[in-house]
């Protein structure tokens, strides 16, 4: 409760001189205050403890306990609250006045008393007292709010962690550093398996701090996990994340982010960077690292029409790693205001010998540079791993399968404009999931479908030469051409036919994928030795390996594969 400056105060008067005490009591009472009197310091301290007056008028020289000691004790008892003490004194020596201040005195009034001056001093002191009371009240309020806020953050973080940790950040090939409260610095790190066994990883950095920076994380994570699980690729996921953030965030808020798709089977990494500092592709064979430069506007800024979902694709094999970081790393400032900067970071990357210690080494370098920790530093390093060693968790289905359809066929034809911007695979996979018997091999099914679809699109419709992908340079060129040709595409189609037939207790699926391209000499390509197919032909080998039967007809324009399953117990 805060008293106002005009309130009636309780004033303690301590003076050993009885007539002075009487006179002063009369003056203070006339000013409308309540008066307590004490005739020595000890009595004054006792009265203060019992009655808690708001202001004290204290004679300096008193028997038993003098005013200085009494003032000291009263100030201690008052704690944080301001109880102004005005010394009543005919002392004239500077040294004595200094003693009054040292003891905690706030002002003096000289004898003989002047009523007007005394009233003015009491009022001035009371204003200070009220001010202090207000400050203390606000401090307590802030403390209380802060406690609430911390609790809210704890709850929000717990809820969010449930979502964030549903991914695969704990995989053995991922190492990362994040403050426990990164969410409230706007930093976000997510990883998840796609149905085909690719790993998707997102490092995001929302603008701002605190709750505003955290609110966008939830919808972003939802889109990321939802679309990754359904088998969408980076471009679709990026478009959806951008559209969602654009829709829900205020104009001045956005999310700098880098998104990776790590394809361990085909040994590729696909990268999109919008607004994060350069990430790095670190090569196991000692080649200089490849910077993963931000070439896009951050998520949540552009409208769907102008958003650029183009990704870069790089070979990614044994010994290779991708390193991503938030701007808290390079923007750390040293004591002289200098930035840590990309140069210092690169020095750490170059001198790193033990990959397992890279993040620690960056931390040490930061600590040496600025001597104090910042809590908005996020780093993640993801290494190549043999697919068998990681093994995406199997999907668990909740329905019984009794209503599974077992004798049907369907045909789809995707034409030019659709090919440019639509990925039909998640939808098709979803459809096939209805067939209970296929669920056991949904991952293989997805990989084979993806392969056949991208072969039909890239080599068939777009006529890209897979031989380009023989070296890293050609690799870049290949994906550049892919984007250009797709953009210019005027005529083309891909047809996909499914046929499901029951077979004893089980059944059989036949998939035919036909494209409008020029076809290819399937016998020759399939006969190539594995070494040649290192980067380019991997797809076909996978298809052969994962499906029960496959063949190419129609001069390589049509691929047919079969998946069969046994009866379910």
């Amino acid at each position: 409760m805060i008293s106002s400056a005009s309130d009636r105060l309780t004033v303690l008067i301590a003076d050993d001189n009885v007539s002075d005490r009487m006179l002063l009591s009369a003056i203070v009472s006339r000013q409308g205050h309540d008066v307590l009197t004490a005739s020595d310091g000890a009595e004054a301290v006792g009265l203060f403890e019992r009655r808690r007056p708001q202001l004290v008028l204290m004679d300096a020289m008193m028997p038993v306990m003098d005013g200085f000691e009494a003032a000291r004790q009263i100030k201690t008892l008052a704690g944080d609250a301001l109880v102004p003490i005005i010394f009543l004194t005919s002392l004239t020596e500077g040294e004595d006045l200094a003693r009054c201040l040292d003891a905690g005195g706030d002002d003096f009034i000289a004898k003989p008393y002047n009523q007007v001056v005394l009233a003015a001093k009491i009022n001035a002191m009371n204003r200070l007292r009220v001010l202090q009371e207000t400050v203390l009240h606000q401090r307590d309020l802030i403390t209380r709010h802060h406690k609430y806020l911390l609790n809210e953050q704890r709850v929000a973080k717990a809820v969010f962690d449930q979502i964030a940790h549903s991914g695969c950040l704990r995989s053995r090939n991922i190492r990362y550093l994040q403050s426990p409260y990164a969410l409230f610095n706007g930093d976000l790190l997510l990883a998840a398996w796609s149905p085909s066994g690719n790993m998707h990883l997102l490092l995001g950095d929302f603008t701002g701090h605190g709750l505003p920076a955290a609110v966008g994380a939830m919808p972003l994570a939802e889109v990321f996990y939802g679309m990754t699980a359904k088998g969408y690729g980076l471009p679709e996921t990026l478009r959806e994340m951008n559209a969602k953030l654009k829709r829900i965030l205020p104009v001045d808020m956005f999310c700098c982010a880098a998104l990776l798709c790590l394809n361990f089977k085909q040994q590729l990494v696909e990268v999109w960077n919008g607004g994060l500092p350069d990430g790095y592709l670190l090569h196991g064979d000692g080649r200089p690292h490849t910077p993963l430069i931000s070439s896009n506007v951050p998520l949540g800024v552009l409208s769907a029409g102008s958003f650029d979902d183009n990704t870069q694709v790089y070979p990614f094999g044994p010994g290779d790693r991708v390193f991503l970081l938030s701007d808290g790393v390079v923007d750390s400032t040293g004591q002289d205001g200098e930035l840590f900067g990309a140069r210092r970071l690169q020095n750490v990357l170059v001198s790193n010998r033990n990959p397992a210690l890279l993040i620690e080494e960056v931390q040490w370098a930061l600590a040496r540079f600025r001597g104090q920790a910042r809590d908005d530093v996020s780093m993640v390093e993801v290494a190549f791993a043999e697919p068998d060693l990681l093994g995406p968790p199997s999907v668990i289905y909740t329905d019984s399968g009794d209503s599974s359809p077992l004798d049907w066929s369907a045909s789809f034809e995707y034409r030019t404009e659709t090919l440019k911007r639509f990925n039909p695979l998640p939808y098709l996979l979803q459809l096939l999931q209805e067939v209970h018997g296929l669920r056991m091999q949904s991952s293989e099914l997805y990989i084979v479908l993806s392969e056949l679809y991208s072969n039909a699109l890239e080599h068939g419709v777009l006529g890209l030469d897979s031989a380009l992908k023989r070296d890293a340079e050609g690799f870049g060129l290949y994906y550049q051409q892919r984007a250009e040709r797709l953009d210019r595409l005027e005529d083309g189609f891909i047809r996909i036919d499914f046929q499901i037939v029951p077979d004893g207790e089980g059944g059989r699926l036949t998939v035919r994928v036909q494209d409008s391209g020029a076809g290819f000499d399937s016998d020759r390509v399939l006969a190539l030795p594995p070494a040649v197919t290192q980067l380019s032909g991997r797809g076909l080998a996978l298809v052969r390996q994962l499906s029960d039967r496959c063949q190419w007809t129609d001069d390589g324009r049509t691929a047919s594969v079969e998946f069969a399953w046994e009866g379910l117990a």
Partner: protein, 104 residues
């Protein structure tokens, strides 16, 4: 830190000059520099000659200005960007949203 603004004689162009740090503390000043009572300008210039620091909330404020000036149709030049400022704008690829002119 200070934000001043200057309108061309024909009222069509508004120049906003930012000195010192361009960060969240500038928010109110920056907004009031382009949200006047009179009619909108048709062209905007943000002069960053004496801006030595720019953070992500400054980028957010530039987006607010862009929105105010017509979104995708906005005509906004960021002029006199020194190297540090340019680097920050580059990382976020703001050249796709604004006309960025480097220090001469």
């Amino acid at each position: 830190m200070s934000v001043t603004s200057d309108r061309s004689a024909d009222g069509q162009e508004l120049t906003i000059i930012i000195k010192g740090r361009f960060d969240f503390s500038t928010h109110q000043e920056f907004r009031s520099a382009y949200e006047p009572k009179e009619k909108h300008a048709s062209r905007y210039k943000v002069d960053l000659k004496d801006t030595h620091y720019l953070d992500s909330s400054a980028l957010g404020m530039l987006l607010l200005l862009r929105d105010h000036a017509g979104g995708d149709r906005a005509d906004i030049q960021l002029v006199n960007c020194n190297n540090d400022v340019k680097k920050i704008l580059d990382i976020s690829n703001f050249s796709k949203l604004f006309n960025i002119v480097k220090t001469a």
